[in-house]
Amino acid sequence: MIADESVELKLPNSLAALTQLHTIVGQFCQRRAIHPDTEFKIDLALEEVFTNIVRHGYDDSHPHEIMIRLRSNRDRIRISVEDDGRHFNPLLAPALDVTAALAERRVGGLGIHLVRHLMDQLRYQRRPDGNRLILIKRLRKEEKRT
């Protein structure tokens, strides 16, 4: 049996860190033989969460660190994203109306809408100095290792 694995990384609150995030997610998923379709969804969900924090999370222009932990076992991947930005629970954001007419469609809210649909479970924890969002993705049968 392949042991549970975890990876931890601290990224600056800059969109330039997305390349590093993508690389780390790719390496993690490849080591765990995660299906490329699942890797794509994790990659995308994580970018949306990270981008929201970088763009909307801070009231100042100081550098901040965003802590990301990836952990997997046989059945699922658990991703934790912690920031020290202003308190914001994305799970309380109003649902996006995907049936709205073209003229009414905006890009705002699309990111969290994607995250909700790409992941199997989301949990938000308010921390004294910021936020923690937990993303859970169940692994498909064919990618579970025995």
């Binding site: 049936t99 469609r105 890009v107 990111g111 994607l114």
Partner: protein, 110 residues
Amino acid sequence: MTVREGKIDSFALVEVTGRVNSENSETLKDFLQELGKREQQVLIDCSALEYISSSGLGALLMLLKLIQNKGGILRLFSLSPRIAEVFEISGFDKFFPIFSSLEAARRADT
């Protein structure tokens, strides 16, 4: 990400390749904005588009509005199943005419 522009029939043919993320989507948006102002009929080749996040979708949405506001045509073709799923989840598959190939896209109204 790379963006290339060519011409086929009366269409501007745009090929977007690689990964469109929130770091580089502004480059795509600037390109599509300029394209949308001067072109009436646009085909977008997505066959080598590996990844797109909401910011890239926003750039395409902006182009669609520009083109539709002047009664033009915008068609996408050759989306991978992963990209097609992102369009479906977003509800964008209802707005964008999506075709399986360049041939299907250019001959859609013949």
